[in-house]
Symmetry: C3
Subunit: 252 residues, 3 copies
């Protein structure tokens, strides 16, 4: 009986996972619980995802980041596949997962690895399409990195020398310089995960960095609206005052 | 071996899911790990859930909201069924899930859809018992809505026009006016999800709104104590200073 | 097709669960998605976990607490087993799960119960190795408890009498006095769960308590660096200013 109950649940979860897009299963499964939710689903994917200030590719990058940051495996199969269909390369998806291992936690990346390895196997995506473990890195902005390192040392040095060390060695002098994901997209992933988890403390630094890396104000505005649907209104509204201050302080 | 390990884990998860109530599986499974936890379980369901200031129906509404907001599918089968047994109608459960699609994120609602569709199928609950996708809406409080819209436009307008638009169009001029869930219960669901996720920034607005919609101070007090058990003490204590300020500022 | 998709996903999740350690499955599965992640995995388990200021046993206590607090069942089978291998006793693991039922929520404990009951069954760990439901309690620090109770009554009494009552009756006059887990380890579990969830409001009290209970500053520093990997950098950095203030205010 235990196994039966679980099987019933997991089969439904799987059908939901598959149903996120447009297949007939979606309508059937959601409508059996909430016809209203099916109506809203059509609006989310038929209208919100089509708004012009953020491309479908960017929306997929944001949504994948939100799902990994929130550790929601049920939606991963559909949205990982949709991301590839929207032009995210397998190498970029690989880098997004690797990046979020550090920004949302190792276990979240492991869940995403499971979903991605299935997808890659189904689509015949092999090792030749993945970024190497240790590629030649992008050139570092020495002045900016020195400034960052100084500030982190001042704030976190007296608390956790290990944290300071790995923040430099692994994150800013390695992960952020990997060429498999453009800095602008890496920032988009980071900011999306921060908004999706309500982690406002790190948002000013990373939203500024994202805009330095090329994210426009109009895109950032639309990222917040998009995440309202995928991570809930409260997280989107918690990002508003932070984004407002960042926007106001930037030149131009 | 991979499949075996997973099967072992998922069977146990399912047994836990079933065990939340009172069945012999509960005692066996929990006691095999922690006899103390079994003792506390009896106190939680035998004493806390029986406290008078919050009805069993309200406690089920709160608990269902907490589980969806925290995306905990393992406990959903038991607590969704218990909610129906406590007098929550299938239409109300449907509306709770729909509501939380926006307040805790689309993926959370999809997980809940999976659990609810199984439950509805097992109990023979058909489409005739569900709220329509687009029912006649409750009358809007025009002055209150104008005030809310003005404040959101002032705070979020310069940041994300899309967020402002959908907050009005989908949330306050549509979702909140759906008649399938009383405004007081809709507020109870919203406040419960905010407390359960530690989202204190939106609590003042929504706790005030809940009390405007009929939630008493004694009920709000008991909601916080109830959520301490189901979402952890830290989230309950984070709600305390917010609730205190809301209580003190309200007349009467 | 639904079942097939789910089976594919869950098999991969299980392989990830098993793969956390060092088995060949780990390399194969992670490397099929991200060779970089496999490189970082070796650094995490081969270097970070070996750093001297925190013992492997303490790192396992922290990691288990992080996984339960974040409700990540996929990694539990491996890390629960690793904890036992690192010298955490079954009784201590039982107490950690019981403790976190209150500090991270009942549902989180139920997920952990499922993983632990499998592990205990596989290793032949029976009821004789578990802590009794109601053991003789540790002596209470009457003055400290009176002080705590007074402050909680002042802050939360006007908001939620039920919360105040259970905080004393269940948490500080019962749970914290259970002898199956040393107060220092109980504090380590609590602080780890607070950092892992970004629950900074309760950190000053519990970090001070942890240090009163014997956690050194060097250990606390390393706990934060360790959790950066397992719960993401943003949560670690959110803990930094709190820890700094606690460190600075303590004598010596």
């Amino acid at each position: 009986m235990k196994l039966l109950a679980w099987t019933l649940l997991t089969c439904s979860l799987a059908s939901s996972a598959i149903a996120q897009g447009a297949g007939p299963a979606a309508t059937a499964d959601i409508s059996a619980v909430s016809p209203a939710l099916e109506k809203y689903r059509q609006r989310l994917f038929g209208e919100v995802w089509q708004r012009p200030d953020l491309s479908p590719r960017d929306r997929s990058v944001v949504t994948v980041a939100v799902l990994i940051a929130r550790n929601q495996p049920v939606e991963m199969p559909h949205h990982f596949a949709l991301a590839l269909d929207h032009g995210v390369t397998p190498a970029e998806l690989s880098e997004i997962i690797t990046h979020l291992a550090f920004y949302s936690g190792w276990g979240n990346a492991m869940t995403a690895v499971a979903a991605a390895s299935d997808l890659f196997a189904r689509r015949g995506i092999g090792a030749d399409q993945l970024p190497p473990a240790s590629p030649p890195l992008l050139p570092i902005d020495a002045a900016g990195e020195a400034d960052r390192a100084t500030r982190v040392q001042q704030s976190a040095g007296p608390v956790s020398p290990g944290l300071v060390q790995y923040t430099g060695d692994i994150l800013f002098k390695d992960l952020w310089l990997r060429p498999g994901l453009a800095p602008r997209d890496r920032s988009l992933v980071t900011v999306s995960s921060l908004i999706a988890l309500g982690q406002v403390a790190q948002m000013p630094f990373h939203l500024n960095r994202a805009m330095d890396n090329g994210l426009t104000k109009a895109q950032a505005a639309e990222v917040i609206a998009h995440i309202a649907f995928h991570a809930g209104w409260p997280n989107a509204f918690s990002a508003v005052p932070i984004a407002r201050e960042v926007f106001e302080r930037r030149p131009g």
